[in-house]
Subunit: 396 residues, 4 copies
């Protein structure tokens, strides 16, 4: 939210292009889908693709057009109710677990809604009438839609990956092998500056930059691989309570978990659902789709630990990242001096700062231009449908 654009024409043009690209990209992600795939919500966490298409549009309508554009006519007054996510300040809404029941409006109406709002935004911004506050919201709206692009990828994978027929989506979001040898990066004790600084967009939760004292530590230059995780499984780790948090042990017992999400064992052999269908486990790829509980237990089994988010940020210039979000040992809490925005946008981050853990980095599903070393992603510890992995750390 702390956009610091000098609102020159160049910057406005840049923003318009970002906006156009963003809107196109969302629809491109959906291109391989059948119309029927836009509808289901298999679990509360996973929203129907149709909902993402509409909700990211509603955000621009609600917070930009209705608020700032003179004489703007709402596309359909029911849509605010249908496609609000969690903004209590923006009125009533369909309860989250009921998103999959809404077969109406049909997808073509949602696409028409998208076109309408896209055009209205372009008209408004192109007219030069938009003041700085509106442009800030536009930028926030783009970042918001980018976040939903990433969730869209997660949710599509979940929907397709739970069809008994394991359909193929395409190879867009495949992981790459990490070719370098594993080694330990040593970090000295000292005060480190943590949090966003500089120009460009950032979220309120990355601010303000502040000092954190770190004891010396070591952190791995690469992610844990499928081969290493397979050893953990074979060592009986899913049956050894000593490796797990009490809540984690309950979780894997209740859910009867024995492996990462999308892993299936048939005839003794493990395979995993990928966007290209069911495939053998590639031992050299990073292990993916783990809950925080599993990431923690793996580190425990290795006699190591997950890095804190501060350790991660301080060391991040020294390793490559961006294939998978990396669980940290840090709970999601406000930085010193954190202030949430007034009104509905104040609900963006602050109200989730309890019962969540921070992930750092980015993933193959993260839109271009949406990642930075200070970015704080967060999910509840049991989350497995996200693109999550493990980087190990240890106290020197």
């Amino acid at each position: 939210m702390s956009v610091k654009l000098s609102q020159s024409e160049t910057e406005t043009t840049l923003l318009i292009n970002q906006f156009k690209n963003c809107r196109e990209q969302t629809e491109k992600i959906c291109a391989p889908l059948e119309l029927e795939d836009y509808v289901p919500q298999p679990i509360a966490d996973v929203s129907p693709p149709k909902w993402h298409l509409a909700h990211s549009t509603w955000f621009f309508e609600q917070f930009l057009l209705s608020t700032f554009k003179q004489g703007y006519t709402v596309y359909d007054s029911d849509f605010a109710y249908l496609f609000n996510s969690y903004y209590n300040n923006a009125g009533d809404r369909v309860l989250r677990p009921n998103r999959g029941l809404m077969s109406r409006p049909p997808v073509r109406d949602v696409l028409a809604y998208r076109d309408y709002v896209t055009k209205e935004v372009l008209d408004f911004i192109g007219s030069g009438e938009a003041e700085k506050e509106a442009l800030d919201i536009l930028e926030l709206g783009i970042n918001h839609e980018q976040q939903h692009q990433e969730l869209l990828v997660y949710d599509i994978k979940y929907i397709l990956g739970h069809q008994p027929t394991f359909p193929v989506y395409g190879d867009t979001f495949n992981l790459l092998q990490e070719s370098q040898e594993q080694r330990w990066i040593s970090m000295e004790e000292g005060l480190y500056a943590i949090g966003f600084s500089g120009n460009g967009f950032s979220y309120d939760n990355e601010n303000a930059r502040h000092r954190v004292f770190l004891e010396s530590y070591q952190i791995s230059n690469k992610l844990v691989s499928n081969a290493e995780y397979m050893e953990f499984i074979k060592a009986g780790a899913y049956q050894d309570f000593n490796l797990w948090h009490a809540d984690g042990w309950d979780f894997i017992q209740n859910q009867k978990l024995k492996a990462p999400l999308y892993w299936h064992q048939t005839g003794g052999e493990w395979r995993q659902y990928t966007f290209s269908g069911l495939a053998p486990i590639d031992p050299n790829l990073p292990v993916q789709h783990l809950s925080f509980y599993e990431a923690y237990a793996f580190a425990e089994w290795k006699g190591m630990r997950l890095p804190t988010e501060f350790e991660w940020e301080a060391a991040s210039p020294q390793f490559s990242w961006g294939q998978l979000w990396e669980w940290t040992g840090s709970a999601y809490l406000p930085y010193p001096g954190f202030q949430k925005a007034a009104g509905a946008l104040g609900e963006y981050n602050g109200k989730f700062m309890v019962n969540q853990h921070v992930l750092r980095g980015a993933s193959v599903a993260t839109p271009q231009g949406h990642s930075r070393a200070t970015y704080r992603n967060f999910f509840a510890p049991p989350s497995r449908w996200i693109f999550s992995g493990i980087r190990l750390a240890k106290t020197k």
Copy 2:
């Protein structure tokens, strides 16, 4: 199941025509839907239309073609798993509450599956090779699909009626006003013959015909109207536990019920969702969409009672019926000498003979040719999405 056709050519031709009409009718019911409407399962009771299309087809494939047709090639081996409903004998299946998660196969594949099986059945029956047992299964399959046609109407109403936009379906399944004056039909005590007899199709649960002794009673010639039910609501009946079964009272408390399903109160005025959209309550139409608990409580409030299914059947020649299924006071239990069929088809009726109540009659959603006075419909007492109404009785 007790088909008593003499399998002359004429009768086979008749059956073929019934089969064709039946297959077409199912698709006709779906015609007003958007493609997205085929997918959701808003509650466990309500199946996606796509599922009905496929399941009624699977029944012919599983029990007729795979069993009796030499060299039959199954359309897609996954479909048996996907579209089996509750036949444990026919193998594993998608759990009922998960039907709405299956976006694949898309509707066009299900329609292709329908065409394939329809054609295969016509080939098989047209060839004259089908023996009597196969023709019996064909007849059962037609009746089975007709039952699903009725459920399809219920489920479509539920799906559309739970869209915040209350979309219009069309006026096909509207109720008619019952023009006659209310009066009491008096029935004398005595032995009555109950259950199916004669030629034509019947279900195993209607057999065998047997004698039941009835004390004298009176039964109404017409259904309870919306106007009468409105009085019941206005009298505070939903707040008076004395009128309700203990389970019924818990049910309406937990669900916070104050009126029949699809009734909405806005600004003090009641309206109801119909296939033509949201509309004022027509006081002269029969009241519809009641649970057994509500039907019972209404009778209790009138100082009367629901007829037993035997009273209903004995008196049925003396009143008109067929607009709504009528809750009876009878639990769904086997008739004396009831025998369930061997194998998977034995799961059709018998295993549901506990915790259900019998409804008699038929409804505007019942397919032509699928109703008779001995027909025993049954649902669990809380069911409200069915086309149910009330006929009163009293002890003389």
Copy 3:
């Protein structure tokens, strides 16, 4: 409730003696308990013994003393709230599943409450001032307390039987072997008079006597034994869905049932908890502690069925009964002409006439004088902590 006493002094004296014996008997049942055993409520169905002691007392206070005795002073006004069971008409009450949370009042206060009410009732009845209606309530109260005596035995067995240490209670309520050979009693078709007639106490649900036509049938002279039920288990019946109602199959799957309640398998051998502790299964004793679902499945496995409650009553003079309540195939429904009483006592039976099955007979836990051939006991189909068994029938 249809008491037909001519209220002579002799009959009043008789009633007083019944009352005294009844009050003493309740406390005698509790004598072997530790004080701690009076408190827990392990499942919603099982009430703490302390609660039974107080509730049966509250019934006399609420419906007899407070209603009929001039100037009666309530023992403690909180007790009405604490010890009302399900009489909505008698005001608010502790919710059923919370009975086990009430450590106060302590047992000694409950016993003092019992003494106070017993004495007040004796004073009131002894004074000769009680009118017929009050004496009817007294008689109902005695029968009510007798029903709770039986439940007390069930609940004590459940509480003790779920202690890891399987404590001994005593041998008061042991089953006896049925020495006669198994044979089939043949009953002719015809009209039978069903329901209570004559003098003496009966419940409203046994009235009115009416005619039922029965087809000819056969019914066993003795109960199914542990040995026979063991064969059923060994034949894999708990794994064969064809034998079960759909609801019954779900029930045994969800609860992971493999044998009657209180049966424990250790080292391949079955033992059962009895009031004398953990003991080997006696093959010659009647099998006990079955749900309706299990009784039905057993009959199905034998190719037979459970008798209806009408068949049971018509044939009952020809066999001995009284060791265990016998599940019938009849749902619990009102007899023709059934009328429930006005006010709170009208909640006694009628409001439970849905989702329950009838058991006939009596058990070793039934108080003396509380059984008759027309008695209609009823429980929900999953109930297993009751003293239930199986008598088979078949269509001739």
Copy 4:
């Protein structure tokens, strides 16, 4: 666990006295109870007093006597199963929510068990044969029992406070008024040493002492009072989602909360259950029995925040504390270099380091000698039956 006693005779004598006092104190806390109060478990969090008496004893038997004393005879082998809490390494156990179902062993057997183990421990330690490791366990066992003494007070209050009769316990654990004026203590930015150092007992979670950098902040010298919290209620805070975490808002909605635990509104006036019975709210006492969510929302409403646990510890020498545990803004996470102990005792703290928040300080229910400024208490955010309060902080 990091006990650093030089095991001189004096120190052993001291330990023996601590042990004796501790064992007596536990029983003293239970003295005002009725025998029936020892049994119930009204919610999963609240254990029966009987269970605490036995479990704290089992800890000494399991980890001290059975492990270190030659030829020790276990009191009753069933007790290990009955009274293990959560030590997976120590074998099977009664599931936590089932503790209230165990009426056996009766309280007198549990007291006999206590006497037996107390005597055995005194013999063992008095004999001088106990090595250092055993003495460490003894010290841990004393601290463990002291923790259970505090829980015992919470649980007794919950059990008594949920009796409809609100019984009196006594005035032992009453809060005192904080007489000083409210003022802000200013703390400078800088590196602070956090965590335990020095001699004496500490838990593994307080170690190791390490450096934390704090930005400058202000912290209140006193706790928030009932009067201040009443203003928050009256301002409609329980109806304003903007003040709450998303999870907190769900929590108060689902539980229908409007005030702290034990507050009851009758006739417009608030009263609260105290150990002396139901009493008016004293405006000058600290507000008590709040969840983390409520503490957070209160701070939010004041435009302030909760201190982190580090801020609390750094400033603690400058204010008085010890009446109530104080919710901090810190999630419960391991300190740098945290190592959990090997074996069962390693389950003491580490496995709970997720989904919990830290409380600092102590309460009126904390046993003497069991509090220190580095002590890290922790509970799940919804916990309200604990003795919790609020101290505010703000960024300078």
